[in-house]
């Protein structure tokens, strides 16, 4: 395939394009690159059948396990919208291969407060006006739970730093920071 024939973004020097240049498209069968395995998600054992091994944890959660709460704003580790817990550690699930997570405990936004109720972070996001389009919201909720469990008395700068890997295009973060402060006050028993 010559450069002129390359239908990708060859000129932009993008990684997908490099991968594509090496790909041998004709005649492959995805089944040859697939496996079945089990994942533990939100306390349940889930079986993943004949899944292509290149699928990210985010893809498997969203498209195979019926858990689309984790979002896919960039699929390359830059936005935090896909944040989940992997063995208690905050990760971007778009950058974790699902098949690599077989022995881990995965907790997604859906697992934070199963049932009708809201976690304190979820409730204060709502009340503080921290939700507009809401695409960043699940990732931020997970990230804020992580932060406040680790550093309950984080100051504003620490909070800003901690959520700086979660992009939000709608809010300018003002109401999100307010929501975090409100949770902190409530947990510390100093709230209104």
């Amino acid at each position: 395939m010559t450069a002129d024939h390359n239908p990708g973004y060859a000129e932009a020097g993008r990684s997908q394009v490099d991968a594509a240049a090496e790909a041998e498209p004709a005649g492959f069968r995805l089944a040859d690159e697939s496996e079945s395995y089990a994942l533990r998600v939100n306390g349940r054992q889930e079986s993943v059948k004949a899944a292509w091994l290149g699928e990210s944890l985010l893809y498997v959660l969203r498209e195979r396990l019926g858990l689309p709460g984790s979002k896919n704003a960039c699929d390359q580790g830059e936005c935090g919208s896909c944040s989940v817990f992997l063995d208690g550690t905050l990760v971007v699930s778009c950058c974790v291969l699902a098949a690599d997570a077989v022995d881990a405990e995965v907790v997604t936004v859906e697992g934070l407060e199963p049932g009708e109720g809201l976690s304190d972070v979820q409730r204060h996001f709502l009340d503080a006006g921290a939700v507009q389009c809401g695409f960043c919201t699940p990732g931020l909720i997970v990230a804020v739970h992580d932060l406040l469990d680790r550093v309950p008395d984080a100051n504003e700068l620490t909070v800003r730093e901690a959520i700086s890997g979660n992009l939000c295009r709608c809010t300018g973060y003002g109401r999100i920071l307010q929501a975090v402060a409100d949770v902190q006050q409530e947990r510390a028993g100093t709230g209104p």
């Binding site: 709460g69 704003a73 390359q76 939700v131 389009c133 809401g134």
Partner: protein
């Protein structure tokens, strides 16, 4: 078949958990107009259960994917899809030959091919689309399509494009607009002149383009889509599919932000073609990279200005030449250039003006609407000039602006008088009234945290070298559609007894909820008019009339007006129904003896008092209304005419710290006064202001699509930076509430003004800190570190 969200119903489905049965018979106070009532989609959104368009899923669905051109300009000699078709799991490969209807679409002019057939006009133009069992198969199939391109020279300089051989049968000038106002020979005592440039900004909404098409039994198609205007999409899609509009049914799917980037058709036609060809549900979802190629961007601008004033600081004349790069296709360029021209002088009394504005076609990525479209570019120009004029006059820049600030009754450079409110002075005074942040060294917390320095955690700046600057800017823009456009919105409101015996109102309106909170306002308006607590929103779709676009800060006014009108009609019909049923005597308008108060129908003479459920008596009441704003006129050959309905104003003050050696900037604080008419939901207004300022800050110091020879160099969030929580400063906002005559509830749209003057305010602050004559946004580190003062127009 309808698509399912795996774990939840469609957005705003009546069964959503936000509306628990209420027993209180009267409307609960605090949830009507003017309160910070919470979003009806809020609970699903925080729980991860809200169905965005990318979450759609259907049994047996296929994945669609687009093949895009790697060249900005080329001829296509041959497209061979054979190898792609042979891949197991590939169900369709479509090219231009497979488009049964109109080959082109477009928001205002249908000039963009569904698939390029023989000419490529921009980097990323769609050439083919595939549908396959798995996204990876779709991706490999796209790679297997062989396209024989013959690259041709790309015309990427808009000045060259004006006179270059046409890049398209429709020519290269989308629109040239001239405004001649007053005495063009008028001269001032002091003159300042400058050239300014604005880079290409991306809307960078978080939820990528996505949608699902499902073939219908009638040969038509159902499309579940994130868009800003369902009906204008439907008309374009139907034309390209060769179907009557009635057979193309669109339903709004959950939208992860828009900011103008969803006004144009992206994957809508492709996904429908694939579904109709395969007879299966097809889902398309752009990657972030493809999103940068798949939607229009903010027009880059080159601007020349000359301002003349008296020694006392009274503006005498403004001359300007504006050139916007529209990229390969028209999109909304004609409206963008009209805004740039009409608002080119800023919110000031300018008795004499001569403006020439062009928007042209090039081989750069297509540009269209982005928050504040046209006004954003011009504001950077006119506010840079106002600073320059203040310096020349040795006048305080805020005083200069106050001296010339527009007031109600003043004439714009289009000859139109402002009949509504124009609290420019109040906005300015409010923005500067907020206290400045403390000096860098005096925060009383010991050593300055390096995270607070320009450059942040990299610890790159030395505290002692950091310089502080304060800057100021004012801007304005029209609300809603202008220049004679028949701008309307439709809403249906139904009032009935719910299953639990309590009254429930249902709103059906096609207005696109993109995150701004129209759904909240719709509920608040119905609660206030009908006194019913439970208000349910039906999914927005094309089964109801058009609501127009969620753009131009228009839905609060337009669809808010339609919902209000429909709710008032329901009230009147209900009172009529009660009057008839209760035999209230006819005296002129018999329902005048009845009122609806706090959720009860009351006879004014005290004869009876009914709950809504009693008044309904088992008979639902439903009314549909169209709302139109006051008519506007086209501009004449001199750019004169009553082209606009209403205007919104805002002022911003920015405080920055700059490391002059490394050229790094940290914005510490932005304060604002914004003209909102009346805040229907103060919390949501605050959210719009803070979010809009973030986008203005982004344009000032970090956001630019780098286009080099027509090619986008940074299509990712790694290389296209948007502000993070660490980049955003403290924002202090004052809402200026002067109800706008003629606007429903007196409210003005609030989405765009925060994005207009925040950018020049930040740049003004950087100039104040560094003394460098910055003439281009975004300001790059080398502009500061190297003190670059060459042409504002050099791209790199």
């Amino acid at each position: 078949m309808t698509p399912q969200h795996v774990s939840a119903a469609a957005p705003f489905a009546p069964a959503a958990p936000q509306a628990p049965p209420r027993r209180d018979r009267k409307r609960s106070p605090g949830r009507g107009v003017g309160t910070s009532s919470s979003r009806p989609d809020g609970i699903p959104k925080v729980k991860g259960q809200f169905a965005f368009s990318s979450d759609l899923w259907a049994d047996g669905m296929l994945w669609g994917r687009t093949l895009r051109s790697p060249h900005p300009a080329a001829r296509i000699r041959r497209v061979d899809t054979e190898a792609a078709r042979r891949i197991p799991g590939v169900h369709a490969v479509l090219t231009a030959d497979d488009v049964p209807g109109e080959p082109n679409y477009g928001l205002e002019h249908p000039d963009q091919p569904v698939f390029a057939s023989n000419v490529i006009r921009y980097h990323g133009e769609a050439v083919a689309a595939v549908a396959a069992d798995h996204p990876e198969i779709a991706w490999r199939a796209v790679q297997a399509i062989e396209v024989d391109y013959e690259p041709t020279p790309a015309v990427v300089d808009p000045e060259v494009a004006i006179d270059a051989p046409p890049l398209h049968p429709d020519g290269n000038v989308f629109r040239h607009l001239t405004i001649r106002h007053g005495d063009l020979e008028a001269a001032g005592e002091v003159t300042v002149e400058g050239s300014y440039a604005v880079g290409m900004q991306d809307q960078a909404f978080l939820g990528p383009e996505s949608g699902m098409a499902i073939p219908g039994d009638d040969g038509g198609v159902d499309l579940y889509i994130s868009t800003q205007w369902l009906h204008v999409d439907r008309d374009q899609v139907a034309a390209c599919l060769g179907l009557p509009p009635g057979q193309v049914r669109l339903t709004l799917s959950g939208i992860g932000g828009a900011f103008g980037a969803r006004e144009d058709v992206s994957l809508q036609v492709h996904v429908c073609l694939l579904a109709l060809r395969t007879g299966r549900a097809v889902k398309m979802l752009y990657s972030r990279e493809e999103s940068f190629f798949g939607h229009v961007h903010r027009h880059p601008a080159r601007m020349w200005y000359r301002h003349a004033a008296t020694k006392a600081g009274e503006l005498v004349k403004v001359e300007a030449r504006l050139l916007l790069d529209g990229g390969a296709y028209a999109s909304s360029s004609t409206a963008v250039i009209a805004n740039a021209a009409c608002f080119s002088c800023g919110p000031y009394r300018v008795p004499n003006a001569h403006i020439d504005a062009w928007v042209v076609r090039t081989n750069n990525p297509p540009c269209g609407a982005m928050r504040g479209f046209g006004a954003v570019q011009a504001c950077f120009g006119h506010e840079s000039q106002m600073d320059k004029l203040a310096a020349a006059l040795q006048m305080d820049p805020v005083q200069l602006r106050l001296r010339n600030a527009l007031r109600s009754g003043d004439e714009l450079i289009t000859g139109q008088r402002i009949t509504g409110t124009a609290p420019v002075r109040e906005c300015i005074e409010a923005a500067v009234a907020h206290p400045l942040p403390p000096d860098a060294g005096s925060e009383g917390r010991g050593p300055y945290d390096p995270l607070l320095l320009p450059g942040g955690a990299g610890r790159t700046a030395d505290h002692a070298d950091v310089r502080r600057g304060v800057g100021f800017a004012v801007g304005f823009k029209n609300l809603m559609y202008s220049e004679g456009f028949d701008d309307f919105s439709t809403a249906a409101v139904r009032l009935e007894e719910g299953g639990d015996g309590e009254p429930v109102a249902t709103v059906h309106c096609a207005a696109a909820e993109v995150g701004q909170g129209f759904v909240t306002l719709a509920q608040q308006i119905v609660r206030s008019v009908l006194g019913v607590d439970r208000v349910v929103l039906r999914a927005a779709d094309t089964r109801v009339g058009s609501a127009g676009s969620t753009s131009a800060s228009r839905q609060t006014w337009m669809s808010g007006g339609a919902v209000q009108a429909a709710a008032l009609a329901v009230r009147d019909a209900l009172l009529e129904q009660v009057a008839e049923a209760r035999g209230v005597e006819v005296q002129g308008a018999r329902r005048k003896l009845l009122t609806l108060r706090d959720g009860e129908v009351v006879h004014v003479e005290g004869r009876f008092r009914l709950t809504l459920t009693e008044a309904l008596d088992g008979r639902p009441v439903e009314e549909v209304r169209e709302y139109r704003h006051a008519p506007t006129m086209p501009l004449d050959a001199d750019g004169q005419g009553d082209a606009h309905v209403s205007y919104a104003f805002a002022a911003h003050r920015a405080v920055v710290d700059v490391d002059p050696d490394l050229g790094l900037v940290r914005v510490l604080q932005i304060t604002t006064g914004q003209d909102v008419g009346k805040a229907l939901n103060p919390l949501q207004v605050t959210g719009q202001i803070e979010g809009g300022i973030a986008q203005g800050l982004g344009l000032a110091v970090m956001e630019e699509i780098v286009v080099d020879g027509g090619r986008i160099r940074n299509p990712s969030f790694t290389d296209y930076l948007i502000p993070t929580a660490l980049d955003m400063p403290d924002v202090q906002a004052t809402l200026i509430e002067q109800p706008e005559p003629g606007a429903p509830f007196g409210a003005k749209g609030v989405g765009e003004p925060p994005t207009i003057s925040s950018t020049p305010a930040v740049v003004s602050a950087i100039r104040a800190a560094t003394g460098i004559d910055l003439r281009r946004v975004p300001v790059r580190p080398d502009d500061i570190a190297l003190g670059v003062t060459g042409s504002a127009f050099s791209a790199k």
